[in-house]
């Protein structure tokens, strides 16, 4: 009997429906997976076979073929396991095939039949909702994430026997009630009012937060460039619904954190200058979003800008211009959203003290020029606001608000 079940796979930060067709026929006993399955899915065959056996669902020793559609798209996630198992169970008439209609199945099977969460549940839930599914079965640990959007009955599944009992109508699984996420401790919001002696830099940060501009801070080390970046985030309003969904999906696909509600805080990412191009842009065998996407709708802070590899600096141009980064794969390319604001910081020269009021630069002019040229041209062309951050001078502290500040501004 030919039966169908439904799952989904993640491509970039969007999901697409995967239809699983199982058939039992004549031929040598065995289980064959057809359809462009990645290595992860070939392991799925073993997991599904073991889980079914462990749960006492003895399948007839017959030829079984499982077909995954669309055939031309790579399906990476072990989250498809559950749908493969259910299609097989239906083809053996262990569960009624019609119970699999309108139900999206998402989870990785352990060898003993328990269900494990798979990354990207929010993307899958969004896909299921948009494609008209009425319910979504996921591992218990994923239920909160699946219920974030609403509009779907979310079935938390502990293990395969529990789902079989549900599908047979023996013992229904109750839909997971959307949890109000536990109130997060409000992020410590630093305003910039307490940053003295950095008048221009404060203005630059204010302009950045207000108008969405890209900013470059340059100046000697130790004047608070990094501190300014961290404070800048406190000036942003919370993400609106649309932006929050985009950001939460990216975080979920990256497996960054447990998703129990939409991310409302504006992201700040600060990769070290040793980051690889793949780490910055995304990619890798599992097609993970990179730093530019993790900073989507937020701020990408690149300290020591000239120290980043030339490849990284070049690679920033496309997302800065397009708000999206395209990862080229063997077949076609995948776009990840990457509409971030760039906040860059750099020293004025390799030693850091060019133009310093009290210190002397020890670099020769050619070295300074080489250093500055590393970020010149196309990248600087995308900077809207550039200010020199200078060490606080006594006169900029003329109006101390309390004693400790007054002391700090005294002659050093």
């Amino acid at each position: 009997m030919l039966t169908r079940s439904y799952s989904a796979s993640v491509l970039g930060v969007e999901g697409f429906v995967v239809t699983v067709e199982a058939d039992v026929g004549l031929g040598l006993p065995g289980l064959t997976l057809v359809g462009r399955a990645s290595g992860a899915l070939m392991e799925a065959r073993e997991r599904v076979r073991s889980a079914l056996g462990h749960c006492g669902h003895k399948l007839h020793p017959r030829k079984q073929v499982v077909n995954l559609a669309p055939a031309d798209e790579r399906k990476d996630s072990p989250g498809i396991d559950l749908a493969v198992a259910c299609a097989l169970l239906a083809s053996h008439e262990v569960v009624p095939a019609e119970r699999l209609q309108g139900l999206m199945l998402w989870g990785e099977l352990s060898l003993d039949g328990s269900l494990r969460p798979a990354a990207g549940t929010l993307v899958i839930a969004d896909c299921a909702r948009r494609m008209g599914f009425t319910s979504l079965a996921v591992a218990e640990a994923s239920a909160d994430e699946a219920a974030v959007l609403g509009g779907l009955a979310v079935l938390p599944v502990r293990d395969l026997p529990q789902l079989v009992a549900h599908l047979r109508g023996d013992r229904e699984i109750g839909a997971h009630a959307a949890n109000d996420p536990p109130p997060r401790p409000p992020r410590e919001l630093h305003d910039l009012e307490d940053v003295r002696g950095l008048v221009l830099a404060r203005r630059a940060i204010e302009v950045m937060a207000a108008g969405g501009h890209n900013v470059l801070l340059h100046g000697p080390p130790g004047v608070g460039k990094t501190m300014l970046a961290r404070r800048a985030i406190g000036l942003y309003p919370p993400l609106d619904d649309e932006a929050a969904l985009e950001v939460t999906k990216i975080f979920g696909v990256a497996g960054l954190r447990a998703v129990d509600g939409l991310v409302r805080e504006v992201p700040l990412r600060a990769p070290h200058h040793t980051v690889s191009v793949a780490g910055l842009l995304g990619g890798g065998p599992f097609l993970r979003p990179g730093e530019v996407s993790l900073a989507h709708r937020g701020v990408l802070f690149l300290d020591e800008l000239p120290e980043f590899s030339r490849g990284c600096l070049e690679a920033l141009r496309e997302p800065l211009e397009e708000g999206v980064v395209r990862i080229v794969r063997a077949r076609g390319s995948v776009g990840f959203p990457a509409r971030f604001q760039l906040l860059a910081a750099m020293n004025p020269c390799p030693c850091g003290f060019l133009g310093h009021p009290d210190r002397t630069c020890v670099d020769n002019p050619a070295a300074v020029l080489r250093y500055q040229q590393r970020v010149s041209g196309p990248l600087l062309d995308r900077i809207d606001v550039a200010v020199s951050v200078t060490p606080a001078r006594p006169e900029s502290c003329a109006r101390p608000t309390h004693r400790s500040r007054a002391r700090r501004c005294g002659p050093a």
Partner: protein
């Protein structure tokens, strides 16, 4: 300071209503959008043009200056209409906020 930022964002949203953009930085140069949505007073236009000529700026750089001037006008502590063009003082401050590192 956060209050000013919040108000500036609201002014942008009011001005950009009906467009796909939410911030001044997103307004594209194409099809006159930037001249319409980041308008300058005649005096401000003259200052921008003169500086651009003096420093040999590309149109792209001029557009960046224009957007920043618009944001500075949105941040201003006055109750000017969000559609009023940005003033000469806003352009002057935007120029001040464009000090790229230089080999001295």
């Amino acid at each position: 300071m956060r209050t000013r930022v919040t108000r500036a964002r609201a002014r942008q949203l009011a001005r950009l209503r009906g467009t796909p953009w939410r911030t001044n930085a997103e307004v594209p140069a194409a099809a006159g959008s930037i001249e319409r949505l980041c308008a300058l007073t005649p005096a401000a236009e003259r200052l921008l043009a003169a500086t651009a000529e003096h420093r040999g700026w590309s149109p792209r750089t001029q557009h960046r200056l224009r957007r920043v001037a618009r944001t500075l006008a949105d941040l201003a502590d006055d109750d000017r209409c969000p559609r009023a063009p940005a003033a000469e003082a806003d352009v002057a401050q935007a120029l001040h906020l464009r000090a790229l590192p230089e080999a001295e």
